[in-house]
Amino acid sequence: MVNRVLWIIMLVAGLTAPFFAYPVFVMDLLCFALFACAFNLLLGYVGLLSFGHAAFFGGAAYITGYVIKAWGFPPLLGIAAGALFAMVLGAVFGFLAIRRQGIYFAMITLALAQIIYFMILQLPFTGGENGLQGIPRGKLLGLVDLNQSLAMYYFVFAIFLVGFCIIYRTINSPFGEVLQAIHENESRALSLGYDVDRFKLQAFVISATLAGLAGATKAVVFQFAALTTAHWQTSGEVILMTLVGGLGTVFGPVIGAITVASLSHELSAFGSWVQVILGAIFVVCVLVFRRGIIGELHRLFGGR
């Protein structure tokens, strides 16, 4: 029930948003929403806390920016290249990180992501602290000029919907059921004959790829790949978005991303106080609001 209403709200709001809000801002929200949904697939449904998702988000942004700018890739192919990069990186990170459990998993992903951050900082093509600037938006399939903001908007919204549907489908498939079984009781799932590590790795790769898709899209929207997108603080932000919206709920990360990103945007005039406020929200969420916004809605109206 709640989910059906939310589907309708999301589609209507998504289709009409550019007419009453600044399109670039909404596109930014959509990228973060997809990023948070991808992250939630891991933490919310498999119980794996990755503290390194910024590496996929930021890494893909740089790859997409580079292939479009230097090799003249068209936008769709460029974004695909970024997502592909995130997929490969996700396979490597996942392979290493699932060797340890729980809290170690978080520390390993964080440390691995730091390698990518330093590589971006030091490699010659990335522009160091200035980021990769001047990425052309180009023409979609050689036909639609993405410099028109409405065309760009609906392109981004379509990407978001594709990513969202992949996640929705994954969660509601037999594969997703196994993931949730692993979350509930890992040794039980193992004893039932499921190759737990393989399922974890597959979930990790899907999550990384979609996080990369979000980052790649963001780079095209802003025509800019920023160093901050690969910083661990971005990994922290996506955790906060998921937590605020509701861990393990389909729509939670979307709501959470909109809430947190809008808040950071509104408060950006206050400088470092934004960090203090985000930190405080983190603390409050962990202590008393662990279900998140959508989680509370489900508690009130039922369903998941």
């Binding site: 119980g47 990180a97 691995l112 730091q114 937590l243 470092s272 106080w273 203090v276 929200i281």
Partner: protein, 298 residues
């Protein structure tokens, strides 16, 4: 490249290594008893440095107190301050999370890190403020035979190693330590024997934080004091902890020291890899000895 350059860098690396050792030691002690990874450990380190800085040069400006807390006094005041803050955090917040998945402890302390970093970023320059309270007696250089080395850095190395080994001794070889280890092994049973485990947990958390604060004071005269000084350090320390495994106190100390050395030497051998070499070593350890060098599978 002469042997001398490498030795000099190795010593400077050891200087970083003692900070890794102190921080990973604190993390390991806390993890042992609470099963929580304290993300705020880096922020506690930063806080220790700031207590020293504010105590030395800003008390008069800020609070109108005409008092100057010198370096030696800071070595006591800052860890106390940070330790008490840790105790308050444990009592008011962390203890509500023990029944839950351990990742909530990490997330809570991550939030606290953001708060502390943000607060200090409002009042202090991100690129750092120099600490000028380094005592006269530790200025200058000493002749080590093969090279001249800053006296203060040598002091920081020796002092930290002494603190680390004292901590190890207390935990492994005293009555207090044996109670602590009993609590780590089986907290319910330890409590049944009449030991106050919740109190032990609180004090342990405070002690771990105090160690980080102490490391911060020691770092203040070497690096400039900045709100972000702990942020990148803590991630390296996480890698150190993954490499060493948190099973043993001595393991945490030795891994920290060794990795500092490795990092220092990398700085001369292949500089671009200096800030990632520890992460790459972590990858190797995960491939060949997933439980960590000193770790037990758990």
């Amino acid at each position: 490249m002469s042997m001398q350059v490498i030795l000099a860098q190795a010593l400077l690396g050891l200087n970083v290594g003692v900070f890794y050792a102190m921080l990973s030691l604190g993390l390991a002690v806390i993890f042992g008893l609470l099963n929580i990874i304290n993300f705020a450990h880096g922020a506690m380190y930063m806080l220790g440095a700031f207590v020293a800085l504010i105590g030395y040069s800003l008390l008069d400006d800020w609070f109108g107190i005409s008092l100057q807390i010198g370096f030696w006094a800071s070595l006591i005041v800052a860890p106390l301050f940070v330790g008490v803050l840790g105790i308050i955090i444990e009592r008011t917040m962390l203890k509500r999370l023990y029944e839950l998945d351990h990742i909530y402890g990490l997330l809570l302390t991550f939030g606290i890190t953001l708060i502390l970093q943000g607060l200090f970023s409002n009042y202090f320059n991100i690129s750092g403020t120099p600490y000028s309270g380094q005592p006269e007696s530790l200025s200058g250089v000493v002749n080590l035979g093969f090279m001249y080395f800053p006296t203060y850095r040598l002091f920081a190395i020796v002092f930290s190693i002494v603190v680390c080994f004292a901590t190890w001794f207390v935990i492994e070889h005293t009555r207090l330590g044996s109670r602590l280890r009993a609590g780590v092994e089986n907290s319910a049973l330890t409590q049944a024997f009449g030991l106050n485990v919740p109190l032990m947990i609180t004090l342990t958390f405070g002690f771990g934080c105090a160690l980080a604060g102490l490391a911060g004071v020691l770092a203040a005269p070497i690096y400039s004091v900045s709100p972000l000084m702990g942020a990148d350090l803590i991630i390296v320390v996480f890698a150190v902890v993954v490499i060493g495994g948190m099973g043993s106190i001595m393991g945490a100390i030795l891994t920290g020291l060794a990795l500092g050395l490795v990092e220092g030497i990398t700085k001369v051998v292949y500089p671009p890899a200096a800030n990632t070499v520890i992460f790459f070593l972590m990858v190797l350890v995960l491939l060949f000895r997933p439980a960590g060098l000193f770790g037990k599978e758990r």
